[in-house]
């Protein structure tokens, strides 16, 4: 291993962001260590091999796999691996995170997002550069422009935001104390590859689509194979062309959603890290999508007729179906009608120098991404 060139130690190496950044670095000729744990009876190496096959690359000798558990002190690193890290002083890119918004997962989020960070930092504290993957939403509950500065919000929309903000505070303090250069990356909502549509994670943007597709398919089966009673009770029918008509009024309360494809995130993150930039960087889209436009995409993609945008006042008493959808979407509501705007004046020059711009989410891209999600049963069949 050439110790003069930086080596990158990536946590969450089998995850959506970590693996994609690793691939980007490998393509650029870097040496990468992926910290991965065994799972579902597969060893870390087996998992990484599968992953690299999925990315379609042959990593060769520049990719090392280190079995690691970030929920364990010392990461449970093998003594040899620990020694290797001590010697090569890798650049740490900490991507491991728990992204669930669910309140009942707050213990797990704390364990992964805070204690996990502490374990990574204390194990690799002789790193030459610490890169922490955070989120733009550490901004918390607020309106207007959010700067690339430490956030001190009065409140949060969920415990995920809160745990990530606490993690930011902690790592800023620790890196300052230990005099370790720190880069904080704050992406907005990440979806699949803008060119191929491929993704490893299917939450956020995907969630309304997969929920509605599931509902559509079940109702169609109820009409086709059952007696259609359930569908009728919910006011659902099929039109002459066989399309499902599901009366569903949704409300656009303004703002928009900031979405970036994973390929852009990986390239932007790599560019910032390669330049050795330190500080806080928002990796966001400059063209936010309105909720109404996304709703049109969803309606068009699912082929469900009857979805309409209505002013809140017109909703009157919502139907059970509308209430159900509203409940499903509730955790994501702050992000789909978001009045926060993320300033990226520190990130922009780096992207400009490397010629990077964030691809727009048009309907074609949207379709590609959703088609991929459907083809792998929203992740359940990616590695089968």
């Amino acid at each position: 291993m050439n110790h003069t060139q930086p080596v990158f130690f990536i946590t969450g190496g089998s995850g959506f962001l970590g693996s994609r950044i690793a691939v980007e670095l490998l393509k650029g000729g870097a040496t990468v260590i992926l910290a991965v744990r065994g799972r579902d009876g597969k060893s870390p190496r087996q998992r990484v091999d599968k992953l690299m096959e999925w990315y379609g690359i042959r990593p060769g000798h520049r990719l090392l796999v280190m079995p690691a558990r970030i929920d364990h002190p010392g990461l449970d690193l093998d003594p040899t691996d620990r020694q290797t890290c001590r010697e090569i002083r890798p650049v740490v890119i900490h991507c491991a995170a728990d992204t669930s918004f669910a309140r009942h997962h707050r213990g797990r989020a704390r364990q992964v997002n805070l204690q996990g960070l502490e374990h990574v930092f204390s194990t690799l504290r002789n790193t030459r550069h610490f890169v922490h993957m955070s989120t733009a939403y550490t901004a918390g509950i607020r309106k207007g422009t959010c700067l690339e500065e430490p956030h001190h919000p009065a409140g949060f929309f969920n415990h995920y935001e809160e745990s990530k903000q606490r993690a930011e505070e902690w790592i800023i303090r620790m890196c300052r104390r230990e005099r370790i250069p720190l880069t904080l990356l704050r992406p907005s909502i990440v979806y699949g590859d803008s060119v191929t549509g491929r993704s490893l994670r299917f939450n956020a943007l995907y969630y309304p689509v997969r929920s509605l597709l599931k509902l559509r398919d079940s109702l169609q089966r109820n009409i086709r194979e059952g007696n259609g009673r359930r569908a009728r009770e919910l006011g659902v029918r099929t039109d002459r062309k066989g399309n499902l008509v599901m009366p569903l009024r949704v409300t656009d309360t303004g703002g928009g959603v900031d979405l970036i494809p994973v390929d852009h995130l990986a390239r932007a993150a790599t560019a910032i890290v390669r330049e050795g930039q330190t500080g806080i960087f928002h990796i966001v889209s400059r063209q936010r999508q309105s909720f109404s436009r996304l709703t049109e995409f969803v309606a068009q993609y699912t082929g469900i007729r009857g979805i309409s945008i209505s002013p809140a006042a017109d909703l009157g008493s919502p139907t059970p179906l509308e209430q159900f959808i509203s409940q499903l979407m509730d955790p994501y509501q702050p992000y789909f009608c978001d009045r926060r705007v993320f300033d990226d004046r520190r990130t922009a020059p780096v992207l400009q120098r490397t010629g990077l711009t964030c691809p727009e989410l048009d309907y074609a891209t949207f379709t590609r991404c959703m088609d991929y999600g459907v083809s792998v049963n929203w992740g359940a069949e990616i590695f089968r």
Binding site: S100, F101, A102, R103, H104, H105, N158, F202, N203, Y207, R210, S211, K214, L215, S218, L219, R221, N222, R230, A231, E233, L234, P320, L321, Q323, F324, Q327, L328, D330, P331, N377, W378, G379, A380
Partner: protein
Amino acid sequence: MDAQKTATQCRHYAMCKIDFLDTGICPAGKAHGYTGFYPQGRMDIYAALCQKKIPVTRALVEIADSCTLCDICDRQCYFVAGLRPRQVAAALKKKVKESLLHSSPQDPIPDPFLEKLQKIVGNRWATNDPAHRICYAHDPCPVSPETLPDYVALPADTRQVQRIVRLCNRHRVPFAVRGNGSSVMGFVLTPGLVIDTVRMRELHFDPKNWVVRIGAGISAFELQKEAQKRGFRVNAAEPSASCIGNIMCSGIFSLFSASYGTGADNFVDLEMVDRQGRILRLSDPGAPNLLAFQKTDAPLPGICTRAAIRLHPVFADETAAAVPFQNRSAAVKFARELAARRLGTGLGVLGTEYISTFLSPSPDLARQARSLFAEDLGIGALVLVLGDRHTLQAIQDMEVPVMSPGLIRTLILSLPNLCRQDWKSDLTGMGGDRPPYELFCRPEFEGILETLLEPSPQTLASGVDPDLRDFFTTLYARPEMTDILWLNTFRIISSRMGREGHVVAFILYIPLEDPRLVEKLDASFREITRSHRVRGDFGFLTPLDGGRMAVLEWDLYLDHTDPGEIKRMQGAMAAAGEMIEGYFERDPRVLWIRYLLYQGLARKESFLYHSAALK
């Protein structure tokens, strides 16, 4: 799993001896009575034969030949334990056939004591054949070494039991009593004579007095079934266990104990043969006081042969509902409140281990369901309420999320769908400030969920072995299989708790005024499982006596065929015992059921409030 491995996995729950699925029971077992003729016995015999512990005897040949390979055992055993005993029976037949090619079966060994026994019970009902004896020689309990009895006898009535006891006393032969041939805790092993009460089948209802008189061979399931036909219910324990055996062991408790009580609350009178061979009735003025309790290792007071058991009326509008909570403390508090308000015929706080295990028709699905309920639906514990429509209405008025019988049915019949990865991540996505189960509990969404989850017997059956799917489809088309009230009354799914390993249950009576005690005990047990590297989990809690007290079960699980695990479990059990004693020293109301062994006849007041007795 091959035949030999399967044979060693039998948990000895004796579920193959009761017709709990309406499939009928093993015809050979029914015809011959001895445990050896049932699938449970055949498993033991085959394992012993493979290990060359027993020879091929005439009785063994008869046992092997008696099996018709009818499949009933596969259906029954798969339902509760995920095992397929038919292949064991087939392997036994094959092995015996091979053996007979080389040598004749061993003849019975003449024995004067056996002849005396046979004079009492008849030639057919006493034996010293190793094939029969091995079926009573061991159980999965990790602290009970295998003890091969010299004899097995199956008396028919109290008089025969009396004569057997006197004979044993004269010849100084130790004896142990088994009800229905089941054994899981190592209490009924002896080198002498095993008295199996399975032939004592008196069953006589006295509806005017709300009492049923039963013999010691009547199982809880049989009793409950007959009681239900007459519009009654009994407070019974595990379905295959002898009802009298349970009473004598440490008293009966169940979710219904919240209203029916425990200990002496469950019976009106008992008849027993004491250790001197005298016949006693508890109602006799001169009978020993067995209603009292002493914190000591009490000896077995005698062999109970008959009992008059209390019957409780069943109402047509009885049903069940489940109230999920994010954490157990809130669930315990709620259950206590219900008990204090005298709401619910049956009450229980269940952990996700029980919920997932009970509801899943296969071990694989149970493993997936465990994370489904805890992680994806956000359920920390669940209060199960059994009661009439007024109880259910009262609970709904308490403004807690309630899983209705319809939703419970939907969840059971769609479990394989819900456990699919796509559904699990959908549920994860649902989680916001409120856990996803709250969404499930909203009555207005019941129809939508039913549409989405597509519950059906076929869906449920997709989670079991392919060759059993038709059977499970037919089975789960029966309404009672998704009726939580029925399932709790007959308890046919609670035996599933031993599916992934033998259960070592730690049962405690505890005060309920402070739910933190439950959490402290839970943390103490968890620490033991961690330090001894064994698996365990909270089982259930049922409030007793208006919520003043409760019975709590915490379970450790082990592979009883793994010597390493047995050793670790022995350490864990010793540590758990010490830990419980520590709690007792701080608060004597924390009482380990171990001290109720053979004191199951005691009044509940005698042991729940032993520290409040007049000095």
